[in-house]
Symmetry: C2
Subunit: 324 residues, 2 copies
């Protein structure tokens, strides 16, 4: 029996991934850029065992069935193909993110799983290949493999679509959980509806490609203010694109809008703060590390705040081999 344990954290996109070019290989329609966080890790152990007759997946102590289990099995099937193995695996995963915080646990989950499974099955992957592998589980997981700031190159095919680190100024995030309720429309469903019914989808993809080039330039020139402006602009454009669906999908709640207003006020008072939001009501505020407490204090009446700094990317904690 071979086993490996890995950990990974969520990432928050400053240039959003919203739209697939190929939903089988999970190739995105445009590139994106994110900050890997240092909070809410998923820690996953993969044991490759000869005695299993199927894969087995438990999350936070509960054996999973249905779609979550199928996604893990499908992913492990791909790993087995790469490794030339026929053995099933037991996957034991723990996720510390608050339930339904909408903090994309699929990114940390598949980054940790890719790292642990590739080691347990004896693959020795480069960071790039690990990122490509994680992408197959969940698109944005390819970015959680990478430390600090990651650019996900859209690429043309499985080989060329991966994330890698880019140098950038020191950044931190204040995450405001404004609503614990499960969101009305899942990201997958909303992404499909966007491609089918939003008249703005094509322009969203084209403009995001231009936005990413600008963002990489802002990172290269250490221009934090421009990074922040682009972050807020790109988030609002993503929400605009989704809102234009037929029927409309509105993810921002009254308190989400209040948070964007509050962040604008902070900026007017000289605090470097820029708001973003994924497909849900929560708001994340990009700021400089030294302003996190001030930003969190300004938002605290709107919900629960969490402070995050740049994380180190997915990595192995232990590997081992034992006779079972």
């Amino acid at each position: 029996m071979k086993q490996a344990t890995a950990t990974a954290t969520p990432n928050l996109a400053l240039v959003k991934y919203w739209g697939k070019r190929d939903s089988n290989l999970i190739l995105p329609a445009a590139g994106s850029l994110s900050l890997t966080l240092d909070i809410f890790p998923t820690t996953t152990t993969v044991e490759v065992r000869e005695d299993l007759r199927a894969d087995d997946f438990s999350l936070n102590g509960i054996t999973q069935t249905g779609v979550p289990a199928e996604r893990v099995t499908q992913f492990l099937r791909h790993v087995r193909e790469l490794a030339g193995s026929n053995s099933f695996a037991r996957v034991t995963s723990h996720n510390e993110a608050p339930t339904a915080a909408g903090l994309a646990s699929s990114a940390s989950g598949f980054a940790a799983l890719a790292t642990a499974a590739s080691a347990a099955y004896g693959l020795d992957l480069s960071q790039r290949d690990l990122s490509r592998l994680a992408r197959r589980g969940s698109g944005s997981a390819c970015r959680s493999v990478i430390p600090r700031v990651a650019v996900w190159h859209a690429g043309n095919d499985d080989e060329t679509s991966f994330a890698e680190e880019v140098a950038a100024p020191a950044m931190a995030m204040v995450i405001l959980v404004v609503d614990g309720a499960k969101k009305a429309v899942s990201s997958r469903e909303a992404m499909r509806s966007t491609a089918r019914t939003s008249p703005f989808y094509a322009a969203w993809i084209t403009s995001t490609e231009a936005t990413l080039r600008e963002m990489l330039e802002a990172c290269a020139t250490d221009d934090f203010a421009r990074i922040g402006e682009i972050t807020e602009l790109n988030a609002l454009r993503m929400h605009a694109t989704i809102q234009a669906c037929d029927p409309p999908i509105r993810y921002l709640a009254p308190r989400s809008v209040a948070a964007f207003d509050r962040v604008a006020e902070l900026r007017n008072s000289g605090v470097p703060a820029y708001a973003t939001a994924d497909a849900g009501p929560n708001v994340a505020v990009l700021t400089r590390p030294e302003y996190t407490s001030q930003v969190a204090a300004a938002l605290q009446d709107l919900g629960t705040t969490h402070i995050a700094h740049a994380g180190q990317g997915a990595h192995l904690l232990t590997t081992g081999e034992e006779s079972s």
Copy 2:
């Protein structure tokens, strides 16, 4: 001396006008459709006098200068050209809309002014030509000339860009004034920024043309639910288009979003209610006349509500000739 007094009310667009093809002639980039309201009239008297050496414009008892006065003078210059007159006019206007309610007093204002000025200068215009004339003052004023439901045909030129009545089911509006503050960015400025910086502008125009065709079909088939769905969809798409500007322009306040949520809840409980919003934080709810009180009650904790039914369009109140 010849004089005429006319009155006109605001209109609320169910398919929005947002974007000009020609800002001199005020030709819109796409057609639109609106309900003329029966509240907040502007009443305007135009006296054509030989003894004036310039036009003179007072609003609610205050003599106007600067941009408001220039817009009136420019409009009267056009009327004088049509009438072959060299005489200046005194314009006395009263507007009953609550200050800064964002209820487009320029539409009722120029519809009343076009009606009074054309009569005072001796022009005998058809409703269509009156609509074209009002359009020269402020685009959406061409719709306030028309009773009940008006479609504004985008047209190709000054001749073909006018509003006219379309048959439609009985409708009413509940207007929620959520914020009395002056809005941050004027409609004119935001419209210009949208055309220049929103990547969604071209698709907004194309999709609005398709939306208007669908709306006219829904009116023709007396399909109130579809009229409502299109109204809400089109409003959210307009706000999405504006939000995508660089820098972003957000008009919807937390309470605006709360109103959209409240309206969705009303619908879920069987009330025919659909939300829309112009370039500001206020929300207007399209409903059937018999539901106005229920809709207003559901929104009252979010601001001040006003109930409006279909209005009769701009019309003359008095005309006269007296020796001065």
